[in-house]
């Protein structure tokens, strides 16, 4: 069996070559990879685990150096790494609190663990898990002290057993995470019937698996029409429209420019997202902002269907430029199509013609009405809360 480093390198190269497509697949692979990595670790003390996962996580995230090359990374990799870190921290804390006292066959450890030391430990780890707040601000320092003290006083025998427990629990939790990721579409789809009524007209944009599952679930009970905007440079809408019509939807494919014309007859816009940002904005295929604006202007609900593994704890800063990806101009103009014009241009020293072909668009939270995630529907303003639930504040920056 190859070592963890080898596995990670292989996955990194896959990410680089864009062989892994789709955020769900990426998220699932990442989680499975981290599970393998953790299972192969011998000494599984919580800080070591965290450090290892963090190290590999950095490598995975660095697979797409997006700032330099204007390539938007698959942010779900980072999200999953953070989720795993959070799991480790959580298991570490719960292993100290309830895991050990209930552990019958290691009485010695339990005896040793009770009392002042373990309670201090519990307190510390609990505080670690809590998101930073004004209440905890002042007693943070003393906590860290007791934490350090407590760690030093632990016996090696106890360490071993505890580490084994921790590792076991972490593996269990990651398994749950993997299952959750693979079942996210179904969870989302279950909510469809509550949101779609009969004879509705739904507009969607580009291609999204979540949207597909969402609509299919509603299709079982309701009959409605779907308009698909083609999503220009990638034309994934064509593919999506074809798939939808194969599923039996009454589908109409429209051009992106007709979005404004058609939006007045649409009851709901349902789109998928590439990433959900911490402020409730989304990164999606280019053109989504235009669609969201049009929906806002016409008071049409703009619903984003996204699983929680797309939830990114970063706040977007200048997302239109920084969280974007500029694609090849050949999507718009063929190579050589304008070469003769360039020669004719009188001032040939300056570049007379630029082609802009961004791949992503940022939709601010003001334009979004609802998020449908696998844990229910949420307002964009609630996203920060979900982030606090899923990620530990220490891991926001890996």
């Amino acid at each position: 069996m190859p070592g963890p480093q080898l596995l990670v390198d292989e996955f990194v190269s896959q990410l680089r070559k864009r062989k892994v497509e789709g955020s769900q697949a990426t998220a699932q692979l990442t989680a499975e990879l981290l599970r393998t990595v953790i299972s192969q670790l011998r000494a599984a003390e919580a800080p070591i685990l965290i450090e290892t996962v963090r190290k590999f996580g950095r490598e995975l995230i660095a697979a797409n150096p997006f700032v330099e090359t204007f390539v938007l990374p698959e942010l779900s990799v980072g999200n999953i790494v953070r989720r795993v870190l959070r799991i480790i921290r959580e298991e570490d804390a719960s292993g100290v609190t309830d895991g050990l006292p209930s552990d019958g066959d290691n009485q010695e450890t339990a005896d040793y663990a009770d009392g002042q030391v373990s309670s201090a430990d519990v307190l510390a780890t609990r505080r670690l898990l809590r998101s930073p707040s004004l209440h905890g601000l002042l007693d943070r320092v003393s906590n860290a002290h007791t934490d350090d003290m407590g760690g030093k006083r632990k016996a090696p025998a106890d360490k071993n057993a505890k580490a084994w427990m921790l590792k076991h629990n972490v593996m269990e939790a990651i398994n749950e995470l993997v299952e959750e990721i693979s079942g996210c579409h179904q969870q989302i789809a279950e909510q469809a019937l509550e949101l779609i009524h009969h004879n509705e007209v739904i507009l969607t944009f580009g291609k999204s698996k979540s949207v597909m599952e969402f609509l299919c679930a509603a299709k079982k009970k309701r009959s409605f029409r779907v308009y698909v905007a083609e999503g220009a440079p990638k034309y994934q809408g064509h593919c999506f429209a074809k798939d939808l019509s194969a599923e039996g939807f009454r589908t109409t494919l429209i051009t992106d420019s007709a979005v404004f014309a058609m939006i007045s007859r649409v009851n709901m816009v349902v789109v998928g997202a590439h990433t959900v940002m911490a402020n409730g904005g989304i990164i999606g295929p280019v053109g989504l902002n235009m669609l969201a604006l049009a929906a806002k202007q016409h008071g049409v609900p703009f619903v984003v269907v996204a699983a929680t593994h797309k939830l990114c704890p970063l706040y977007p800063e200048n997302p239109v430029v920084r969280l974007n990806e500029l694609k090849s101009p050949s999507d718009l103009l063929q190579f050589g199509e304008f070469s003769e014009c360039m020669e004719l241009a009188p001032d040939s020293s300056a570049c007379v013609l630029n082609v802009v072909n961004p791949a992503f668009d940022y939709v601010p939270p003001q334009l979004i009405n609802l998020f449908i995630t696998d844990i229910g529907g949420h307002n964009p303003s609630f996203m920060y809360r979900l982030i606090a639930d899923y990620y530990s504040a220490d891991d926001f920056i890996l």
Binding site: A232, T255, S257, A261, M262, L293, V356
Partner: protein, 652 residues
């Protein structure tokens, strides 16, 4: 940001239309000429009338203006002759012999007629669409041979006259569609042998039918091109319902007064042909020269618009070339060019049509026992319907046709045939020159004054006047960048980009989805328009509304460049009710992208429909300014232009 804000031409625009030209000298424009337009038309633009870019010159015919002076200021129903007729009489007195049938003028002046008409009297100047597809019979039924024009009507009013039945004049023998009710549910009633009933009987019958329908369904009058009529889903339809009831009651009150009825009928703007009405579509098909196959998969929402299998018409028409006796070759050629898409763009189509008509007029000789005005108008109407079958007319073309018909109708009978013909040809030339060529120059002057150094201008699609603005500004040596936004399936921006780059303009090219990506750096948006409607809605190439909306959201001024002859008194709320459907197959094919071939084999799948809209309607909220040949105006001033200058458009 400050630079952007500074460029908004807000404050002056308020003066539009209410100031006399002499009150204010031209402050900024260097090329504005003396107030009178005595200078040669090419060296000086028509805007020399207009002094300042923000001011609207008075109507050119001062005598008329005097005669009709109280008209615009009196909102009350003053018993006054319809200004249109009055004006005609004036013209005749001033210019030529009194060719007018005095009875006609008297009729128009009679209190009863003015009573009927005064609701619309303010707007009488502008016809709805060109309205009469006048058959000879119709014309002969009128007291004098004068060709009459429909008044301006807002959409709300547009349906009103429909319930006044076409009483006397039109018989079904004519080649035009018979004036039947649109009653799909009761086809038997629509087959009533109308000529055998008296008019009153017919009206009673139809009104009872309408009452039975409960006013929920609106009525279509027979002309094939006409003003707006909404689909069932549309809300205006709902609004229309009570009006229908009201005016039915009104016409009942009037009883069988023939003259009143005639007046009403004349005022009726004919609604557009609605293609969801099966019986009428059948009828139109029988008449039609072009053999068209209806598209099988049609989008539910757009059943009221014609959609044909692309490519079926052309071959058929070509094979018919020698059989089409009545069709003039010039007309035929232009029609084929429309069909094949060789001519596109509002101005180009309009000019091509007018020149074809010019050719027709030159080759025209009045048949025996007919008069030139009637016969020629009928001929032109049939040509127009041919054009419509090739491609639905744009509103600007409607205006041009209306102008032409008006000129023909106003021909003095004392003129010899050759004189009449040459007069018409000159009129057409003048229209092309003044309303299109010169208007474009004025717009270019105005708009390029808004281009500053360092500007980043965003343009969408390919509008010829916007292109002229850009090139002119470039020639003036202004330093600016242009972002050309393009959209499928036509990709008209590529041609524009090619021409701009060839001239050395610094360009950025992108697709419409990326418009919010590039909008950050844009300082002004220049857009063309197919038509500007009187509620300020800009009817233009599909996607314009998207661009304007995004610009509005980014607080970037949106400047529409549009010649005033494209202004139209119709109103429209959305892009659904009136639009044009392009070839749906163009959606599925992406030229130059081999990887996008998902839809190559889907054409037979029943569930999937492709929708290729051609136009959309931009709400007036998104438009900061409209640059026309009368100056730079806010969208709220469009109805003013339409109303005040309609006579200018019709009778240069």
């Amino acid at each position: 940001m400050d630079a952007r804000r500074g460029s908004l031409p807000v404050p002056r625009v308020r003066q539009v239309g209410f100031f006399t030209p002499n009150a204010q000298p031209a402050p900024t424009r260097s090329q504005s000429g003396p107030p009178d337009s005595s200078s040669p038309p090419l060296s000086d633009s028509p805007a020399s009338n207009s002094l300042s870019p923000v001011m609207i010159p008075p109507p050119r015919h001062h005598s008329d203006n005097l005669a009709a002076a109280p008209r615009p200021t009196s909102p009350l129903p003053v018993p006054e002759p319809s200004p249109f007729r009055r004006r005609g009489a004036d013209n005749n007195n001033a210019l030529l012999v009194g060719s007018y049938n005095p009875a006609e003028t008297l009729l128009a002046m009679s209190p009863s007629s003015s009573h009927v008409g005064d609701g619309e009297s303010e707007e009488t100047m502008s016809g709805g669409w060109f309205r009469r597809s006048n058959s000879g019979k119709l014309a002969s039924s009128l007291p004098s041979g004068t060709f009459d024009f429909s008044p301006v009507q807002s959409t709300a009013e547009a349906l009103k006259p429909n319930k006044v039945q076409n009483p006397v004049g039109i018989s079904e023998v004519s080649a035009r569609p018979a004036p039947k009710e649109q009653q799909p549910e009761a086809p038997s009633s629509s087959k009533q042998p109308k000529p055998k009933l008296t008019k009153a009987e017919r009206r009673a019958l139809q009104e009872s039918q309408r009452a039975a329908k409960g006013g929920g369904k609106s009525v279509a009058a027979p002309e094939e091109v006409a003003t707006i009529k909404s689909v069932k889903q549309h809300q205006t339809q709902k609004k229309d319902a009570p009006q229908v009831a009201v005016s039915v009651a009104a016409s009942e009150r009037k009883g069988g007064d023939k003259s009143q009825e005639k007046e009403r009928r004349k005022d009726a703007p004919a609604p557009r042909m609605q293609f969801d009405d099966k019986s009428r579509v059948e009828k139109a098909k029988r008449r039609s020269v072009v053999d068209q196959t209806e598209a099988k998969k049609r989008v539910e929402l757009f059943r009221h618009l014609p959609q044909y299998e692309h490519g079926t018409q052309l071959a058929d028409l070509e094979s018919k070339f020698l059989q089409l006796d009545p069709m003039h070759p010039a007309i035929y050629k232009v029609g084929l060019q429309y069909l094949a898409g060789d001519i596109s763009g509002g101005n180009a189509r309009c000019i091509a049509m007018l020149q074809a008509f010019q050719q027709v007029v030159k080759d025209y000789s009045t048949p025996p026992e007919k008069t030139l005005p009637r016969d020629l108008t009928a001929k032109i109407s049939s040509y127009v319907s041919f054009f419509t079958q090739c491609r639905p007319l744009s509103m600007s073309m409607g205006n041009a046709i209306r102008f032409l018909k008006n000129r023909i109708a106003k021909l003095s009978p004392s003129l010899s045939e050759s004189e009449s013909k040459s007069s018409i040809c000159t009129d057409i030339d003048r229209f092309i020159n003044e309303k299109i060529v010169l208007a474009d120059r004025v717009i270019v002057q105005h708009a390029s004054s808004k281009v500053k150094d360092g500007d980043v201008l965003l343009v969408y699609g390919s509008s010829c006047v916007v292109e002229m603005v850009l090139l002119h500004s470039h020639e003036l040596g202004k330093q600016f960048r242009v972002i050309v936004v393009d959209s499928r399936p036509k990709l008209e921006g590529k041609a524009l980009l090619r021409r701009l780059v060839a001239k050395g303009v610094h360009c950025t090219y992108t697709h419409i989805n990326a418009v919010s990506y590039v909008m950050h750096e844009v300082t002004k948006v220049f857009l063309g328009a197919s038509s500007v409607l009187s509620n300020g809605t800009v009817y233009s190439r599909v996607g314009t509304a998207c661009v304007a909306m995004v610009a509005h959201a980014f607080r970037v001024p949106v400047i529409i460049c549009c010649e005033a002859y494209k202004f139209h008194e119709r109103v429209q709320l959305d892009s659904i009710c009136s639009n044009e459907l392009g070839d749906p197959d163009a959606i599925g094919k992406v030229p130059g992208r081999m990887d996008v071939n998902y839809l190559n084999d889907v054409s037979n799948s029943g569930n999937l429909q492709l929708l290729n809209l051609m136009y959309d309607a931009t709400p007036a909220d998104y438009v900061s300014m409209i640059v026309t040949d009368y100056g730079m105006i806010p969208p709220t001033s469009v109805p003013v232009i339409v109303r005040e200058y309609r006579r200018d458009h019709l009778l240069i």
